[in-house]
């Protein structure tokens, strides 16, 4: 009960934030009524997926300050578990998603134990390495389709199939991921006020001090890593039902890992709204830049050049992201 109260209690934010958040949430709910094109719809679904990825990353990367660049491996585990269970044994999404989360968490414990002995750059590169190892293994593992990947055939299951999440129209996926999005937000709101959340912030500020306060630093990091993993794996399961085809090079690519971290860092790592703001800026920007400049004008890659410039400017001059700027402005006003 206390947990629930903590999760829905946003009262420590300024009123203006809550009004804006409420208005945006309302817009999300009614968005499909005004959606002009399948493209806008697809962009919104991507936005929600990346917000959730970002929220997951934010636990370990933002609150914990451990730069994790290997999240794609857990997207892959979630997606593959759902796809394999559906294709081989006809097990619906609602069962395979938690199973996938379980497998991902177990894997995260296995590699997390040695991983968190590393710090700084060593840690960041090691997360990339583990992700790439898993990708390479999936590329040759014929049980999961090897490099060809897996495909959920559109004719085996007549849509709408609520158990297996096979729909024809995007609107079903939209409301489903929106539901996940709100749940994720509530969880994150609870998490930042939880015991682990405070421990993490302490570790981020000064690890030695945290240790002297009696916090089991290693274990706290591993636990948080597992939470982040579960988040990402859940969305991965959804991802495969939505796009219906997975290949290791795509779903476990480093680009995806980086994108996840970028969203959260650009928006403002370590804040509740950060990943959402980051995804809200970057995903539409990417989609529409790609559409207008990339595909239409034949300038392949120009979207990501803008992207990269934004990242470079933000990291050099405002490392705390967009949310950092907001807070700075606020502090100045208060003075």
């Amino acid at each position: 009960m206390e947990t629930l109260k903590n999760a829905v209690d946003f009262s420590d934010f300024p009123r203006i934030d809550l009004v804006i958040a409420g208005a945006v949430a309302f817009l999300f709910l009614i968005f499909p009524l005004f959606s002009a094109s399948s493209f806008a719809m697809a962009t919104m679904i991507q936005f929600f997926m990346f917000s959730l990825y970002g929220m997951g990353w934010n636990t370990i990367g933002g609150y914990g300050g451990q730069v994790d660049l290997g999240k794609a491996q857990y997207v892959g585990i979630g997606a593959y578990t759902t796809a394999v269970m559906l294709l081989r044994w006809d097990i619906p999404f609602w069962v395979s998603m938690p199973v996938g989360m379980g497998i991902a968490v177990i894997w995260s414990f296995i590699i997390g134990y040695p991983l968190f002995r590393l710090k700084g750059h060593y840690f960041a590169i090691a997360t990339i390495a583990t992700s790439l190892v898993l990708k390479d293994l999936f590329t040759v593992w014929s049980f999961v389709g090897a490099a060809r990947g897996l495909e959920i055939s559109p004719i085996t299951y007549p849509p709408p199939d609520y158990m297996r999440l096979i729909f024809k129209e995007d609107i079903y996926y939209y409301y489903l991921i929106l539901g996940f999005f709100f749940l994720g937000l509530l969880y994150m709101n609870w998490f930042r006020k939880s015991r682990l959340g405070f421990q993490l912030r302490c570790i981020k500020d000064n690890e030695d001090m945290a240790r002297s306060l009696g916090i089991n630093v290693h274990w706290a990091k591993i636990k948080t890593y597992a939470i982040a993993t579960a988040f990402v794996s859940m969305v991965g399961s959804f991802h495969v039902c939505y796009i219906k085809v997975i290949e290791p090079v795509d779903i476990m690519s480093l680009d995806l890992s980086i994108l996840i971290a970028l969203m959260a860092m650009l928006g403002g790592a370590g804040s509740l709204w950060g990943p959402i703001i980051g995804a809200g800026v970057l995903i539409p920007l990417r989609s529409y830049l790609k559409e207008w400049l990339g595909a239409a004008a034949g300038l392949v890659g120009i979207d990501l050049i803008f992207y990269a410039l934004i990242i470079m400017i933000v990291s050099a001059f405002e490392p705390r992201g967009i949310w950092g700027i907001v807070e700075k402005v606020r502090r100045r006003k208060r003075r």
Partner: protein, 437 residues
């Protein structure tokens, strides 16, 4: 509350979808929009240019009137059954990426409201795009993806004009068998033990994986020893481990399935590592692009590739010669397997719509299942186009056939493909064994 909202929105969505369906039916088409999804950038961009030019040429011929071309579609000036409606091609670039392809297909269907889709070259992309088409009930014709699986999925909105790798691989083993029996022109019967050991390296997406399966299947059936099969990433920058691993198996015959840039890299690495088997055979795609020939020059003399179209076809087929001249005027290159099949794919689209006389998907479906294009209309040396409608394979053209060509040096010093299989249409003696580097 949420549930109510969801129900309401589902209702609204359904209404919207129905609303979209109605105008399509009432619409008297003045142009027929075909979405064409090809790899215009990426590792197969060279092939993409050919594919695009092939489809564009076919559309030009269908929309104009060319009295001297013995093709039905050249005489009508658009779709006759629909009052001369013109074909409008909307090109999209899938970059060789299946997910991008599926997104593009969705966009073409929902936002551009195309009447049909043509594509996509890479079998992996064709797989995802055809799945989207199947879901939305939009017809798709494929002209150049050869993974056998594609037509074995029971799809009702997918048709393929090209023969697939099961036939092509069988052709190869027939050729090898022919070698041992002395049937190959210009080569005395080779003892089987000289060409018995095989090794294969294929790119690792849908197409290459399936080719490997086919090679395994037929190697067993024809009793050859397949000592090594390996898959490699088609974006690889370095293939020397792969080549050394092939070499370690000491094969007599090396088999490849590669897209453009990896085919070139593979050949260069074979040369650098001095790997010289008796026969090198490529499964079309990269092995027959002009880039492959231009970059590697004389090094490729003696290499075999399966294909469906060679410039030599022009000598026996008048219509192919005429189209080839137009194509050469447009691009500077001869027609190749890629462009000829892309041309044929769009030509089939024109015939299907002509027969359907409408752009209603169900009518198109009916027309495609009943279509029969005679062989003398086509540029490719097939008996015609007729799709299977029963059995394991749905929508596969049953009248197609393949060729095996060999790069040889002509008298003028140019390297060009000559036909060495089927045995009744050969145009030159086969070079055996592979002359080496």
């Amino acid at each position: 509350m949420n549930r109510l909202l969801r129900l309401a929105s589902v209702g609204i969505a359904l209404a919207a979808v129905l609303g979209l369906m109605l105008p399509v039916k009432a619409f008297s088409a003045e142009e027929i929009k075909i979405g064409v999804i090809y790899p215009l950038t990426g590792g197969a961009a060279a092939a993409g240019r050919e594919l695009r030019a092939g489809a564009e040429l076919a559309a030009e011929i269908a929309n104009g009137v060319m009295a001297d071309l013995p093709m039905t579609m050249a005489k009508n000036g658009g779709i006759k059954a629909m009052g001369g409606a013109k074909i409008n091609l909307i090109f999209k670039d899938h970059e060789g990426n299946p997910t991008v392809g599926a997104d593009l297909a969705k966009k073409l269907i929902l936002d551009d409201k195309v009447h049909g889709i043509l594509g996509c070259y890479h079998s992996s992309v064709t797989k995802t795009v055809s799945a989207v088409c199947e879901q939305y009930g939009v017809p798709m014709i494929n002209g150049s993806s050869t993974s056998p699986d594609l037509t074995m999925r029971g799809f009702k909105w997918f048709w393929r004009t090209t023969p697939h790798d099961k036939w092509f691989t069988k052709d190869l083993f027939e050729l090898l068998k022919g070698l041992t029996e002395g049937k190959v022109k210009g080569v005395k019967a080779v003892p089987k033990k000289d060409i018995e050991v095989l090794a294969a390296a294929c790119e690792n997406t849908e197409w290459g994986s399936l080719v490997t399966e086919m090679i395994k299947l037929f190697a067993g059936e024809y009793e050859f020893k397949l000592r090594k099969t390996l898959l490699y990433a088609d974006k690889a920058t370095d293939l020397s481990s792969e080549v050394r691993s092939l070499k370690a198996a000491k094969p007599d015959v090396m088999l490849f399935a590669s897209y453009t840039s990896d085919a070139i890299l593979m050949l260069k690495t074979l040369k650098a590592e001095k790997a010289g088997p008796k026969i090198i055979w490529g499964q079309d795609a990269g092995f027959e692009t002009p880039e492959f020939r231009n970059t590697l020059g004389d090094d490729i003399v003696g290499i075999l590739t399966r294909t469906v179209f060679l410039p030599q076809v022009v000598e026996v087929k008048k219509v192919a010669g005429q189209v080839n001249r137009m194509y050469k005027a447009k691009t500077g290159n001869d027609l190749s397997g890629a462009s000829a099949r892309s041309f044929t794919g769009l030509q089939t689209w024109v015939h299907v719509i002509e027969k359907a006389g409408s752009t209603v998907p169900a009518e198109i479906q009916k027309a495609a299942n009943a279509i029969e294009i005679p062989g003398d209309e086509l540029v490719v040396p097939w008996a015609g186009v007729k799709f299977s409608t029963t059995g394991d394979e749905l929508g596969q053209n049953v009248l197609g056939s393949g060729l095996i060509g060999q790069y040889q040096k002509a008298k003028d010093g140019k390297v060009a493909l000559e036909i060495v299989y089927p045995f009744d249409v050969v145009t030159a003696d086969m070079v055996y064994p592979f002359p080496g580097w």
